[in-house]
Amino acid sequence: MSIATDQARVIEGVKAEQWVRIYRRMVMIRQFEEQVNELYTRALMPGLAHLYMGEEAVAVGICEALRQTDYITSTHRGHGHCLAKGASPDRMFAELLGKEAGYCRGKGGSMHIADPATGNLGANAIVGGSAGIATGAALSSKRLGTGQVTVCFFGEGALGQGVLYEVMNLAALWKLPVIYVCENNLYNEYTHYSETTAGDMLARGAAFGVHAESVDGQDVRVVYATAERLVERARRGEGPALLVCNTYRYHGHHVGDINREYYRSKQEEQEWKTKRDPIKNFAEWMIQQKISDAAALEQMQKEVRAEMKAAVEFAIAAPYPKPEEAEQDVYA
């Protein structure tokens, strides 16, 4: 079966309620990030955050193919991954505000959300820093025979890090159930990837015999169908894969990166937002397929917005950790 027909088969087999759930998750991430930006501009959030807006189809499409017990590792731009894997927004916001009720009891913040209950091994603020952890988790799953698969999310900026290739080589040698998901949002912080990335991205995986392919990261249906196939392949013991998802970051490198004209044009941003928005395009398809209608989707947006506002309020009202907790949990 060709990849295209296999993908079509997967997409065809998805039930309406699953598409609706996928839509809702993407909307949740979008609105979560809108609230984060708001918290930043209102000076309610300590530090900075790296927004995932524009890339929602990647996290949701990939995590939809995972079980709760499967592992992920995430990045500094990780809110989307954590939410897609099942984290709850109230504890996420609490962590972003440095509150005791946060996933890390306020010790991690935006860039380090971790949650054993949803298989989230942690977001990592070192670019490419979680590649070893993800591959090690895959080694555990294989050794212990648990059938778990690990997804290592990273941005195309991590393609410059040597450790990524060290562990890809090992994952291929040992046929580990790990999928390296490269989110190519075009910019390594403030630099276009073409200035930093020589040759062909997929060839980097292929050189190790790692199955490599790329997808339109703005189309959640294709991301999901591809992830489904690669996850099952890994679960069957057929080894690692590299999946490059071509996507776009709507905001700057972080919330404070406002003036971006020196590295990309407003016109470029506008084009991605109007023509290739993953949520808008998916909504149109759902309506066209009669999976849902405009009114129902709008209603869902409203519900999610209310949910996010309540989560923010929970976080704002939540107490800070006590100063004496600074010395807790250095050692297990």
């Binding site: 996933y103 090690g136 555990s140």
Partner: protein
């Protein structure tokens, strides 16, 4: 207490025995690193383990220190208890992000939810004629980082007991073995035992001066103490055994008793282990001291190759003896 059967084992054999016992006890314990399986490492410390435990649990890796150390962190978080082998301590530089930013911080950053029960075994020590990139003692770098524990055995007995403790610890432990000490023999009981971290060991009791020594420098200090005895100076030798956690109490008490202290460690003196320990003693025993605490470490140069050059870069029995004699006003 039943009498313990005691044998003489080499340091390498004691390390191997600790690993074998822990691997028999707990199927989650596994080893990975370069040439750890059939080769048993260049120092032959691991010989025989792959034959008993198989290639599933003793895994030869490519020459990718950062990669397989990072995998150790991930494997430790998800159910294995890896013992990662870094052939020479100098190669720790390649693993630093995985150790410092990942292993050391996972538990804390995750609010105490994830744990990293990983051991990283590596070597230290000069005078093997291995030049500047195979001779360093970099344990101070890791002792500096909250979240890591650092063990530095100085005898076969300590090596076995501390390594078993390291493997059972739920935190990342960096375990330094002096590569010149692998053939050193010493008594090791046949019965099961472990040695807790953060408990210093008095290697020799004395009255006039305390010599705090770590790892490779313990034998040097004991040799110096023998020579001091002959000129009527009674030296106490204290081995902290772990630089973190550090048994400050024992160090301070010994210095209070003898009123003089020298700290000897094979790492560089500046910003190093000797500075930290000297400061602990100075703060804790200030009113009992008859002299400033003296520090002795490696000369502040990259370790040179040529034997007459290399030999002057690290403390020796002779230099420690001279320093102690001068401090005690015996010449």
């Amino acid at each position: 207490m039943p009498e313990m059967a005691v044998r003489e084992l080499t340091f390498a054999h004691a390390v191997r025995e600790a690993l074998a016992e822990e691997m028999r006890r707990d199927s989650r314990v596994c080893i990975f690193g370069e040439d750890v399986a059939e080769a048993g490492t260049p120092f032959k410390v691991l010989s025989g383990l792959v034959e008993e435990f198989g290639r599933e649990r003793v895994l030869d890796t490519p020459i990718s220190e950062a990669g397989f150390t990072g995998m150790g962190v991930g494997a430790a978080m998800t159910g294995l208890r890896p013992v990662v082998d870094i052939m020479f301590g100098d190669f720790l530089t390649l693993t630093m992000d995985q150790l410092v930013n990942q292993a050391a911080k996972v538990h804390y950053m995750s609010g105490g939810t994830w744990k990293v029960p990983m051991v990283l075994r590596t070597t230290l020590g000069a005078t093997r004629r291995s030049a500047a990139q195979h001779s360093q003692s970099l344990h101070a770098w890791l002792s500096h980082v909250p979240g890591l524990k650092v063990a530095m055995p100085s005898t076969p007995y300590d090596a076995k007991g501390l390594l078993k403790t390291a493997i059972r610890d739920d935190n990342p432990v960096v375990f330094f073995e002096d590569k010149m000490m692998y053939k050193l023999k010493g008594p090791v009981p046949e019965q099961e035992y472990t040695i807790p971290f953060g408990v210093a060991d008095m290697k020799r009791e004395g009255e006039d001066i305390t010599i705090v020594a770590t790892s490779s420098m313990v034998q040097v200090a004991l040799g110096a103490a023998e020579c001091l005895e002959k000129i009527g100076v009674s030296a106490e030798v204290i081995d902290p055994r772990t630089t973190w956690p550090l048994d400050e109490k024992t160090l301070v008490e010994s210095a209070k008793k003898t009123s003089r202290a020298i700290v000897v460690d094979e790492g560089y003196g500046r910003y190093g282990v000797t500075g930290e320990i000297a400061s602990v003693i100075a703060e804790g025993a200030f009113y009992s001291l008859d002299a400033p605490v003296k520090r002795m470490g490696a000369m502040h140069v990259p370790i040179p190759f040529s034997p007459p050059l290399e030999d002057v870069t690290v403390p020796t029995e002779q230099t420690v003896f001279e320093a102690a004699r001068a401090m005690c006003g015996k010449g």
